[in-house]
Amino acid sequence: MISDSPAPGQPTRRVFLKRAGGVSALALTIGFEWAGPARRAAAAMASSPGTVFAPNAFLRIAADDSVTVIAKHLEMGQGAYTGIATIVAEELDADWSRVRVESAPADAKRYGNLALGNIQGTGGSSAMANSWTQLREAGGKARAMLLSAAAKGWHVPVAELTVAKGVVYHAASKREATFGSLVKTAMSLPVPETVALKDPKDFKLIGRRPPRVDVAAKVDGSAQFTLDVVMPGMLVALLKRPSQFGATVKSFDATAAGAIPGVVKVVQVPRGVAVIAKSFWAAKQGRDVLRVEWDDTHAEKRSSADLMSEYRQLAEQPGMPARKEGDAAQAIRSAAHTVSASYEFPYLAHAPMEPLDAVVKLSADSCEIWAGDQFQTIDQANAAKIAGLDPQKVSIHTLFAGGSFGRRANPGSDYIVEAVSIAKAFGADGTPIKLQWTREDDIHGGLYRPMYFHKLTAGLSDKNELTGWKHVIVGQSIMAGTAFAAMIKDGIDATSVEGAATIAYAIPNIAVDLSTTQTGVPVLWWRVVGSSHTTFAVEAFIDEVAHAARADPFEFRRRLLEHEPRMKAVLELAAEKAGWSSVPLPHGKGRGIAVAEAFKTYVAQVAEVSVDASGRVKIDRVVCAVDCGTPINPDIITAQMEGGIGFGLGAVRYGAITLKDGRIEQSNFNNYRVLRMNEMPKVEVHIMPSTLPPTGVGEPGVAPVGPAVANAIFAASGKRIRVLPFANGGDA
């Protein structure tokens, strides 16, 4: 296990802080400068020739010893900036206190996500996995050049040199040189073709807990989000959108809106009518009194209850095969006992804390965008199309995102396109315009996790062996109709069935079928994507099957995972740490277990719940075991598991976007409830030691928590949760 205690000789963070003299000293030591004069100074330094060593697209070292790492990924809370900087700094042997992070410009060639193809974007928990080798080499090559520069200056062989914390040493002659002092010479040297990477046993940052590069600015209010962008002459726009998806503007009357002091202009754009004002408050008041008549000819007018009843019927008809092994139908027909259950999942909004926002400065020949941008080159292309410019004329400044959970990575770039279309309708005169969504805009704005219906049937032999498994999934495709549609193979959108078609249990006959539906409700990936519903269905149902087989739910799963060593290992670790077999629970309490693989990371969780006489559920504790390959920063992995658990709990407990006659019934956090402090359980995270390449941690922790809790509620009360969210009832 990764120990919580520091490595020998390493100060604990607390000690480090005390030595560094507390908050202000840490802010200085981390040197994370995002906005204001400091950032401008750094940028100027980067462009002044002769002082900066920039051997590749991912780092710069300045004469003042500062190391600037260029992040191609968005920092939205998942710790990508710190992870990226850690990988570079490790192979570079940089002084962590001198490392800062800057966001990369949009450029698929230099900053493409190697896991997503030829685009720059952050998603699929891929930031660490796709950066790993690329950034180790970037850091390692820069280190090699700095060593060569020192060797050249001192006329000694490179082999006699050592490096630690940004200083090159020659022990024999007792000489030393900081990276900054070697910059000038290093710049004139060729970049090596290849470089030997470190043996993991020599890692000094990877596997340790260097403090996050963004935390100091996030505790004193100085971290800059898109909301905080201010420019001379900047205007603020709020967009009035239709209340039904697919409705369009028939006409509008801007008289009252135009009379609000501060309102500058009211313009029609493809998605609605925008009120552009000198301040948020003026734009908001203007929008409140703006009158728009909508054409609902092509609008979605169904209710979610109607859709779900259609889905239930579709589940009885043949779908497209997503996985077929053996003959599941025959195995179930000839089984000694069968078990069947269905599960219903609502639409879900992402509801990041920072409502969507973007600043656009559009002129006749250029477009500049400031946003917590998650799909830089896709957004660049979509913005260019609306602006009527070449993509090269669109520059994107990626700022911190106040959460995303998938929302800012959308193939149609909805909020970016809106902002550009508003700037264009305003006159494309170079005026910076900030499009600000409100929380109501966010909850009503679409791009939800799709609604799904799942039906599962299993066959057990007379020895209670699981012989057949049939799983039917009904719901919308996320990729259909987008630039990602080419990834749909044989009618199967993998994001609809991942976690179900990839079921890891050893079952001789498996059939997983998909019926893809079409509605007017726009959908999108939501944290952990397909596994946000498939893992619930699979892990809640396998629990029902184990119960029917009179088996312990943990032992039943374990026997079916003999051929899946990593999945089995996290399952066993979570069970052991939770006291599954060793610590009995009193009456009214129950434990549930669930395991998942998502984005090649393995996570198992054991939930402990209390259910009182009136059926009220309290989630007391969640024990989590995770195998994500090489743990780059165990503290961030732990944080992502904690956060994923809290995010998932809010969804299974309360999360539902429902439609009545095509209108969204929720509007804000009062009726789209999320988890709050008093509902957060104790969480314990255990990380598997590994030297395999790292995989992601931003999403996988979400997958197993829902079914673990549902299974725990069953253990405590005998009640199965088959309809989410469970605050609405539970039993299907």
Binding site: R13, R14, L17, G22, V23, L26, M76, G77, G79, P211, R212, D214, V215, A216, K218, V219, D220, G221, S222, A223, Q224, F225, L227, D228, V230, P261, S279, F280, W281, A351, P352, M353, E354, P355, F400, A401, G402, F405, Q436, T438, R439, E440, A639, Q640, E642, G643, G644, G646, F647, G650, N668, F669, N670, V674, L675, R676, M677, M680, K682, V683
Partner: protein, 155 residues
């Protein structure tokens, strides 16, 4: 129309619509962007500031209501409790996306200004109005206990 009050210790007069929520007045007129917009309905706590030492939601409080009173935003936090909270937040690496954290720090500071040894129930009471979609709640709870301990040790 102007409203006079004390903002982060300084007498301040803002010339603005008196019905404008305090949140937008401090952000867009006073130029203090640390206080965030999350819901506009006092449901999420991202806009939490102190009014005469009490944690309040600035997104629903009209500017005119603070006339003659003391308003403190994250930019003006200097008390021992505030410093202990911010140090604990760093020590336990609380923030993820960070957007809600100004509000969390303001609520936690207001709690510790009045209650130097909060129980978990006290923390639930003071902090459940502050949503964190990254669900950093476990660390916020632990950090408040750490801050309380450090205030006690330095007292």
């Amino acid at each position: 129309m102007s409203t006079s009050f004390v903002l982060n210790g300084k007498p301040t007069t803002l010339d603005a619509d008196p019905n404008m929520p305090l949140l937008w007045a401090v952000r867009e007129i006073a130029g203090l962007p640390g206080t965030k917009f999350g819901c506009g309905m006092a449901l999420c706590g991202a806009c939490t500031v102190h009014l005469d030492g009490q944690a309040i939601r600035s997104c629903v409080l009209q500017l005119s209501a603070v006339a003659g009173r003391q308003v403190t935003t994250i930019e003006g936090l200097h008390s021992a409790a505030a410093k202990a909270v911010q140090a604990a937040w760093i020590e336990l690496q609380v923030p993820q996306c960070g957007y809600c954290q100004s509000g969390q720090v303001m609520s936690a500071t207001a709690l510790l200004e009045k209650n130097v040894a909060p129980t978990d129930a006290d923390i639930d009471g003071a902090m459940s109005g502050n949503i964190c979609r990254c669900a950093t709640y476990a660390r916020i709870r632990a950090a408040i206990h750490v801050a309380a301990q450090s205030i006690k040790e330095s007292a």
